[in-house]
Amino acid sequence: MAEVLTQRDAGPSTPTRVAPKSRPGKLSRYQTRWAWFFVSPWLIGFLLFTLIPIVATLGFSFTNYSPVTPEATRFIGIQNYVRMTTDPKVATSLLVTVRYALLAIPITLGFGLLLAAMVNARSLKGQSFFRTMFYMPSMIPVVAAGLIWAGVMNTQTGWLNLGLEAIGLPAPDWLNSTFWIYPALVLIGLWGTGNLMLTLLAGMQGVPNELYEAASIDGAGPWVKFRHVTLPMISPVLFYNLTLMIIGAFKYFDMAYVLKNGTGGPADATLFYNLNLYKNAFEYNLMGYASALAWVLFIIVFVLAVVLFGTSGRWVYYAGDGKK
């Protein structure tokens, strides 16, 4: 991204030429003033709603602050962090989050690839119709989607199990089994693959046709072309989505809350990291402790992002034409 910026900005059209009276220094001061003026909404917002709160969260994490008894707030050092190491709910929530991520990410990425490849295939008639229809469920608000799926997965009247029984497959109690709840969440998540499909599709459409032609001459079939041409060429898009999904698992909240009314059930199987944080902050009023949880979450996400981007060169192919 940085390269894009410098290239564009080093372009020939810097307005130096059109303001002959100004000396360069004066002009650039004029430019800089305007630039800060335009960027200022975000800068102010970043300070007020991001930077200061993050630092404040760190501060709160060293206290026993509770909104019920704010006057009793004391500095308690690293007690909250020590408590996290022995709190079984923290270990559970981390396990739940990781378990879900390990199941959801490969399946969702694979399904997204399948959808994108399908609506990209010349052999599919009505590509744009299917593209629109595959995207459409992503527009359904999360609460409505959760309630619809809770009905579909109902063991008595839900259509999913009736369908599975009709074709002779086992019909699990999706939402009340500590095992099946994860496939259930993944399945529900597939309804929202639209964004992934569209970004992967755009990546696929950006692959130069000559590469496929060259592969054809070498006798490559569809699978070989997909594996050795398409996948490497869209690896930046895949990587970007993978990063967002890994981090997304640590932000997961809405669907788990809607499906199980925020209980974290069955038997804490949907007690995602974020749900545990929410419960501590807003149900148990342990905001100091929740701040510590939030800071650890921040560090986890930060480290994941650094590691992923730091090692991206190993699995992402960037075409060497300066576009990336």
Binding site: A19, P41, F46, F49, I52, R131, G151, W159, M287, F298
Partner: protein, 351 residues
């Protein structure tokens, strides 16, 4: 000699591929639509059908009844000597049931030996359209809708205006630290809300802002990374010559933004507006935190979730409510899908 045969096999292969891909696409489409079918038909079912395990599940049905001498009796499928007949049960006992024939009530009573519970009821399709009216009222939809609109529209205005300014700053100006600032801006995409949540919540609660919607609106007046990124990409495609021409005419950067950049970016602005509008429509976490104790201020997301908590035992009402809340976003999506999907591609791939 060999060439035509090769062409034929290729054509056959293409044919096969076409059939396979189309079949798969249709199967996935049906699976995607299945939950909506469930929602729609369940929303039309009667309470009686929901609690009747014998009733067919794939369409709203009611049990056939017959009114005789001012009383209403259920109709069953009764095996008789003359084949299976649809008869109304007027007197039920464990050992025998007395029926009359709705087609010929004057023929008198027919006694059938056996437990009536083993008989299959006769159903007829009967959609309860009034369920949607009931759900609309029970949800208090007009109020939820009003609250959602207030939050979504003001938030969208703020998000679009502020993001236009910031994106223009990043697209057209050079200043020290610009690249670093831009990287930080993009970095905020991965930042979990929870990292900033608690102090923000405490401050909003402490200030006790007279308008409780403000925590859901004000933060969006300070631009966000997705919008800025998308708009900046778009702005950079607008030729600088247009800016320069305006500059020669004496326009300052603000005038250039309003007269050149904004009119040339209508699709991008539309995409950003839609994104924010749907984000606000969909947002569940923030209203849950800030408005949970104020039912009169709930938006649709929280309202529907609480409706579920209240009506959990009436799945038909829940599905009718879900349908009411998703119809607008889905309809707008179909109307504006081009702008919408292009916007996603624009903001998702270029990174």
């Amino acid at each position: 000699m060999a060439a035509p045969r090769v062409a034929a096999t290729t054509r056959q292969q293409n044919q096969l591929e076409r059939v396979l891909v189309s079949t798969l696409a249709v199967i996935i489409l049906l699976m995607f639509l299945m939950p909506l079918g469930y929602m729609f038909t369940t929303g039309l079912k009667s309470d009686a059908q929901m609690s009747d395990p014998k009733a067919p599940v794939w369409w709203p049905f009611s049990q056939q009844t017959f009114t005789y001498n001012g009383e209403t009796f259920p109709v069953y499928k009764v095996p008789t000597d003359a084949g299976v007949q649809h008869l109304a049960a007027v007197k039920k006992t464990r050992a025998a049931t007395t029926f009359i024939d709705p087609a010929n009530p004057t023929a008198g009573e027919i006694v059938w030996e056996g437990n009536w519970r083993t008989l299959e009821p006769v159903y007829f399709p009967d959609a309860q359209w009034q369920n949607f009216v009931t759900a609309w009222n029970e949800l208090n939809f007009p109020l939820l809708f009003r609250n959602t609109l207030i939050i979504a529209i003001t938030g969208t205005l703020g998000a679009v205006i502020s993001s236009v300014f910031v994106a223009y700053g990043f697209a057209r100006f050079n200043f020290t630290g610009k690249n670093a600032l831009f990287m930080i801006l993009i970095g905020t995409i991965i930042l979990p809300v929870q990292a900033t949540l608690i102090p923000t919540y405490i401050v909003f609660a402490r200030i006790g802002w007279t308008n409780p919607f403000l925590p859901l609106i004000v933060p969006h007046f300070f631009a966000n990374a997705y919008n800025v990124f998308l708009l900046r990409q778009y702005f950079m495609q607008i030729p600088r010559e247009l800016d320069e021409a305006a500059m020669i005419d004496g326009a300052n950067p603000l005038q250039i933004l309003l007269r050149i950049i904004v009119p040339n970016s209508v699709p991008a602005l539309a995409a950003v507006s839609l994104f924010h509008f749907f984000f606000a429509w969909n947002d569940f976490f923030s209203p849950l935190i800030y408005l949970v104790s104020r039912p009169e201020l709930w938006p649709l997301s929280v309202g529907l979730q609480k409706f579920n908590a209240l009506y959990g035992r009436e799945p038909n009402m829940i599905q009718a409510g879900a349908l009411i809340t998703l119809i607008l976003p889905v309809a707008v999506f179909f109307l504006a899908q081009r702008v919408f999907m292009q916007g996603i591609v624009f903001s998702g791939v270029e990174k």
